[in-house]
Amino acid sequence: MTRTRAAILLAGAATLLLAGTAAAGGFNIYEAGARATALGGAFTATADDGSAIFYNPAGLAFLDGMAVDLNLMPVIPSSEFTGAIRPDGSHATGKTVDQSFPIPGAYWYRNVGDLTYGVGLSAPFGLGVEWADPEAWVGRRTSYDVDLATVYVTPVLSWKVEETVGIAFGLDIAHTEIQLNKRSAVHFGTDPTADPYVDVLDAKIEGTSRINVTPMMGLMVKASPKVTFGVMYHHQKKMEVRNGELTLTNVAPAALTATIDAQIAALGGAKHDGVTDLKLPHMLAVGVACQVTEKARLEFDAVHFGWSYFDALVLDFETNPLDQTIREDYKDVLQLRFGAQYQVTPKLLAMAGYVRDESPQPVGSISPLLPDANRNDYSAGLQLRATERITLTGTYMGVNFDERSNVEGGVQQSFETEFNPAGSYDSYAHIFGVGVGYRF
């Protein structure tokens, strides 16, 4: 295989990226490779395949030759919502539609002497939350369908400084696509038993970001034959969406159609240009791995996410009355990741992992847009060395969200309470990973 063919493969993987979904705290997706995912993402001090380009490119310094690693990790999330009890005893319910998001991880690297260079494609930030029955979904006036996909193309250069130390630098070249669909409502009608609001507008906001380039780096130190330390850092990003477009569609009942048409006309039409910045946090991972026996290896990672950078989503339209600021106020969090592997046979490697993932989302910004919660992730996987050149990896990870409510002490704590429904969310995500590695 030539480098050209490798590049084509990378491009092919990119087209699979329809959208991501949050599989780690906030809308981070830490699943960049099937093997790493099987280890619960505790891979910073191991980083021994192409996905090192994401997890710790310094690991590449210790690899030989040239290889391609292609991973596809379909994420199947589901969320349910139960509204708070209304004064009349009733409560709303909602659930997301069945969706599957194939998360790509595609990597190529080549070792020449003490240097290894490579390039990877990953999708570390994404979100896809589509609620079923959008016409009736109680949270539709916040969001009924949101898609966010971020692709990182990361070229790296890794240098084996000495036999036990590798360092690496790279660039995260990123692009984001964002789409948000919601309804807008007005207070209308006189029936006390009915919803006091009626939907009058369907609003679709979509845009793509400019290309954003930030540095990333890695360090790996084999402190002893058994103990390895690893450090990885991806810088925070401000994804500048400058081509955003808001499309308004009149969905008002007959009695209001003319009024809403007039309001749309007064705004200057149904389409409005806008800009926004999507702020992505830094990722800083520190890991230690221990080769406990010849066959067994353990790793523990702590990953710090600078989520406090994600303070708000400011939608700034050319038509000022449409401007909107969605307050987020995320906080920095530390994830704990544990991974274990066992060489069952020379050809077969068994892996398992556990993640304790604290949500960066404050109770105030829990919403249909992103109902985040603390999570416990459990993973397992197998890697088979099928031939001298080919490895095959299969992984499953279950992402189990804690049930979480935006009501505390009987009071809704949301930053916005008019259209963000009071209630509780529960979510779960299945992640299935497959990986194919080819050593040239």
């Binding site: 589901s78 969320s79 349910e80 919502f81 139960t82 509204g83 708070a84 009890i85 209304r86 004064p87 009349d88 409560h91 319910t93 659930k95 007005v186 207070h187 209308f188 009608g189 006189t190 029936d191 006390p192 038993t193 006091p196 009695a255 209001l256 009024t259 069952v344 046979t345 020379p346 050809k347 077969l348 068994a350 459990y378 397992a380 197998l382 499953y396 279950g398 189990n400 049930e403 409510s405 009501v407 002490g409 009987g410 009071v411 809704q412 009071a422 209630g423 509780s424 969310y425 529960d426 979510s427 779960y428 299945h430």
Partner: protein, 464 residues
């Protein structure tokens, strides 16, 4: 099968089984619904969302019709202003000049309000029926229920049952259609429209038309045009509970309700004691013109105000006055007994409910001075228009207050609220409420003095 292959197979099988367990055992679980604490508003928050239900008195009906000039001084608007509502924020079904009265203005026209034209009462104008919607109904496109839901002509029954003029107790009364607007909203009755706004404070002044309908016809009959007090009592309790329960179901709190009871017909200048009638009509005393010759109902107690117009038209040939112009002893008793029964029922209903308080309108209006309770025309004949307009609390139709009279009512309600809730809402300054019965239209010097037949017809129709 070699050892490696066997181990591989075993491991794979174990792994698949474990993964299946993981995948099957873990899935999204439907959360149990959480409880929300619904807080009962206290202090200033009680005044944050005020809604009024009632009849013409609540609507700000004045001078025989509904028009902005009067509506801006309706007692609900005056209370809202005293509570600190910014101008224009308390939504009423505002109607442009010349307003909508209920008199006969000729086929195809809606009458305006009455005005004093320098000598007599006449219409301030009329509007082709086809133009009413587009030119008069200024707030028709307001997307939610009005905060002032007073519908002229509404009875207690109507407050809970009528969705349109067609199914009201006064068929043809299009105020139901203008104010409840169920051609747009569907079929929602007055008290439910009020509840739809989730009010923290409700004023409710209904029941007047349950007696006045009969009284102003001149022929009141219990059970026909006067509501029997026992039925009234049951309906009144049902109304209070329906407002309370519906607001609670929507908002989780109980609104404060201020009710008002039904004044005596004798408190209004419309019902003239027969001696006053003789004086105003310029008729001789009973020694010259015995009651038996003046009235068909020889034991007449009260004479209705429009009789003056009838007499002006017919002269002495119109005597004795037909029975519909007077309330005799029995008829007066029917009306006054009904009012007594209503007010007892209202008092009981209020006493039984902790969140409902009573403004005693019956006592308040009975306490007006003679001048305040005298018709403008009577005062005008004696003191001139300026003093007359500055003295009386009643508008030209003789039964509805003018804006100063509505200020008086507002202050009574405000005092009730302050006493009930231990608050200190400021009173309305009545001196600032000046009433112009000419509506600023230049006085027509050629107009014939007295009450025009047109105006008299208006006054006959205004209570229905």
């Amino acid at each position: 099968m070699n050892k490696h292959t066997k181990t591989l197979a075993t491991t794979l099988a174990t792994a698949v089984a474990l993964l299946a367990l993981l995948a099957a055992g873990c899935s999204v679980e439907t959360p149990a619904p959480v409880e929300l604490t619904y807080e009962q508003p206290t202090g200033e928050a009680i005044f944050s969302n005020y809604v009024a239900i009632g009849n013409s008195l609540t609507a700000g009906f004045m001078d025989g019709g509904l028009v902005m000039n009067g509506q801006v001084n309706s007692y609900p608007q005056l209370i809202a202003s005293a509570l600190g509502y910014p101008a224009g924020s308390f939504m009423q079904p505002l109607i442009a000049m010349p307003g909508i009265g209920s008199s006969d203005a000729g086929e195809g026209y809606a009458a305006g309000v009455l005005r004093f034209d320098g000598a007599s009462l006449s219409l301030a104008g009329r509007t082709p029926l086809a133009d009413v919607q587009s030119t008069l109904l200024l707030a028709a496109r307001w997307p939610v229920a009005y905060q002032n839901l007073g519908v002229p002509g509404a009875t207690l029954w109507d407050g809970m049952n009528a969705t349109s003029s067609a199914n009201s107790q006064s068929p043809g009364n299009s105020y139901f259609d203008f104010i409840l607007r169920n051609s747009v909203f569907g079929g929602v009755v007055m008290c439910d429209q009020a509840a739809s706004l989730g009010p923290t404070l409700v004023t409710c002044w209904l029941g007047n038309n349950d007696a006045l309908g009969g009284a102003t016809s001149g022929e009141p009959v219990l059970g026909v045009n006067v509501t029997p007090p026992t039925a009234f009592a049951a309906m009144y309790e049902a109304l209070l509970d329906r407002v309370t329960d519906t607001v609670f179901a929507r908002t989780g709190f109980t609104p404060v309700i201020i009710t008002a009871n039904v004044p005596d017909i004798a408190s209004t200048p419309y019902f003239m004691p027969k001696a006053l009638f003789r004086a105003m009509a310029g008729l001789p005393g009973p020694e010259t013109l015995p009651d038996a010759n003046l009235f068909t109902e020889a034991d007449a107690v009260y004479v209705r105000f429009p009789t003056l117009s009838y007499l002006a038209d017919e002269g002495m040939a119109g005597l004795p006055l037909p029975e519909e112009y007077t309330l005799d002893v029995t008829e007066t008793a029917v009306v006054q007994d009904a009012v007594t029964g209503f007010n007892a029922a209202i008092a009981t209903a209020v006493d039984e409910r902790d969140h409902v308080y009573l403004y005693d309108a019956h006592a308040a209006l009975a306490g007006l001075t003679a001048g305040q309770a005298t018709h403008f025309l009577a005062l005008e004949a004696q003191y001139g228009a300026a003093i007359a307009a500055a003295t009386t609390y009643f508008s030209l139709d003789g039964i509805h207050p003018n804006n100063r009279g509505y200020g008086f009512v507002a202050n009574g309600m405000i005092a009730t609220i302050n006493e009930a809730l231990d608050t200190s809402i400021p009173s309305v300054n009545l001196a600032n409420l000046t009433w112009d019965p000419t509506y600023g239209i230049p006085i027509d010097e050629k107009a014939a003095p007295g009450l025009s037949p047109e105006a008299a017809r208006a006054m006959d129709a205004i209570f229905r």
